[in-house]
Symmetry: C2
Subunit: 349 residues, 2 copies
Amino acid sequence: MVTIKKIAQLTRVSVATVSNVLNGKAGAASEAKAREIMDVARNLHYMPNLLARSLKQRKSNTIGIIAEDLTVFNTPEIVDGIETSCEENGYEIILANMRLFKRYNNDFTDTPRHHELLDAMVRNMIAKQVEGLIYVGYHCREIAYLPSRVQVPFVYAYCYPKEGIYPSVMYDDEKAAFDVTELLVARGHRNIGVICGPAASYHTQARLRGFTRAMAEHSLPARSECILYGDWERPSGYRLAGTLFDLGVSAVFSFNDLMASGVYGLAAERGLQIGKDISLFGFDNRDISQGYIPGMSTVEPPLHEIGRRCAEIILGQMKHHRTGKKRIYLPCTIHERNSVGVVSGSLEL
Amino acid sequence: MVTIKKIAQLTRVSVATVSNVLNGKAGAASEAKAREIMDVARNLHYMPNLLARSLKQRKSNTIGIIAEDLTVFNTPEIVDGIETSCEENGYEIILANMRLFKRYNNDFTDTPRHHELLDAMVRNMIAKQVEGLIYVGYHCREIAYLPSRVQVPFVYAYCYPKEGIYPSVMYDDEKAAFDVTELLVARGHRNIGVICGPAASYHTQARLRGFTRAMAEHSLPARSECILYGDWERPSGYRLAGTLFDLGVSAVFSFNDLMASGVYGLAAERGLQIGKDISLFGFDNRDISQGYIPGMSTVEPPLHEIGRRCAEIILGQMKHHRTGKKRIYLPCTIHERNSVGVVSGSLEL
DNA sequence: CTGAAAGCGCTAACAG
DNA sequence: CTGTTAGCGCTTTCAG
């Protein structure tokens, strides 16, 4: 391993001078000496030991990510957003994965074991001297177990802490659903069926609020028999679509793309044309949504942006020694594709 | 920050003793003293500074992952596998994301900029004293740009280096396709249509080899008009399914699930029943494949296992100072679901 | 312009 | 059983 010391010996200067030159400190050595030092360093392929530097400077330039489950579809995009921002600011990332979904396959129960696992990971990261920590949930919900004793900035992505102790960044489910509903109403739909996720889900509840509020604002009834609960999987969409078709809805708002794809399936079997006989909206903008003919209208959550914002909050808190606890809701992007058709008598909003 | 030194002062022993006690060195102090040291450490919430330890021991217990693109669907599962293995062995992960797919949206061209980016990331990780490096591709192919001068174990996941300089772990596309084909033949299918990816793709070529080999071994013709090339996206599957249906195939082997979902779509429109009138196999075992009725048969690539193996290779090389360059092909798992039906005159294999 | 010295927090001989 | 000493590789006053 080639160190600063070796270069110093070779160039007959002190380590301090080498350090200064290598760090571009102006006037740290004569033109000639500086050049020589640089050359030797390059030829020997010198690489600074960042651990030593961090130790000395008491600054690791590293932030930690604790992901509830990296393999759940939104997580990578959020991590990617965090990474982008960190890269721009010269920060490295260390990653830990709780593997919650896989490990326990639980959806809503936060057990004491989660807490232990989290604490162990947090401790470990603190020991590695991370300057900030981002907790990435795999679906939006209140996280009941708080990390004990963190003395670095901590931010929640795609979930939020009990009692709002730390800041969190989510997207605005309610507004997105409101907007989708209004859009459907603007296209003339009066009879809109909804395929929700499980009733206990945060997403279901928030989106349902958006839906009913939009209906109410347009003085339309949100008929309870048209609001059905699936399990996020395709078959439930397929099944519930049948009920909704029978009820004569002209549009279906499915709370995710997977279930919406089931609606396509049933429509094809019944000889109904999506975008003509039945309008359809999904949620998530997953890659399957792009492939359908006619294209599936859907809502794109700002996952990348959630990551970026988290990183920015963390970096900001680190810099200014501030601490926050705000909940931030970022807006989604609505993609209206050909799965939505106009019903006669449409009104202008 | 509470350090070993502070604990030493408080307990009136030397830092060495504290270190020894805290590291569980038997007989480092008297029973009483040891207990006292432990208590003080706990009460003050002492946390070792892993940076300092690593510096001293010249061992970081960290490995680096360089992902070509974290947001491409197989990557997270591979990273998860790496993580699992590392966790079991007390290793941390630092993650860098080249964002190749997003940044350049290129599929097959490896440009000099890639090389620069890779080199920068490798240097950075080496500087952070990683003990090994895993490069995770976002699709299988030969990587032309090799990292310059790595003095730590380096392994490729889901791709392989030019000239086989480093070891790599992939899955066995050819065998998987061979097995699927044989399975279809065993179910009585003679006329099998294939929807490939782009002709230039490694996956396309390897799977096609498997297909034609299986057909040949059963003395069946692999008619070239039944081998069509899509672009991995759903619409191409939908479109090409039409051609294949017209050619009278009894089964379609689509080289990914997305295109296979297009086959479902067209079949529904034409009133053909998947699993009865037309049998169908996909590839990738993505979550959409689980949702179709009848269930989509597909091939599950051992992504998690690829990650695990890479980590094991790295850890092994680190331990034994070996160096390898083997290419490893792990077997896929075939999921036969109801999208495959039996054609009369089926033969037993 | 250059260097000596101190020290980040920790571990590891070695001596007592 | 306990402490002294040295040093990992680097940065940073401060003096010359």
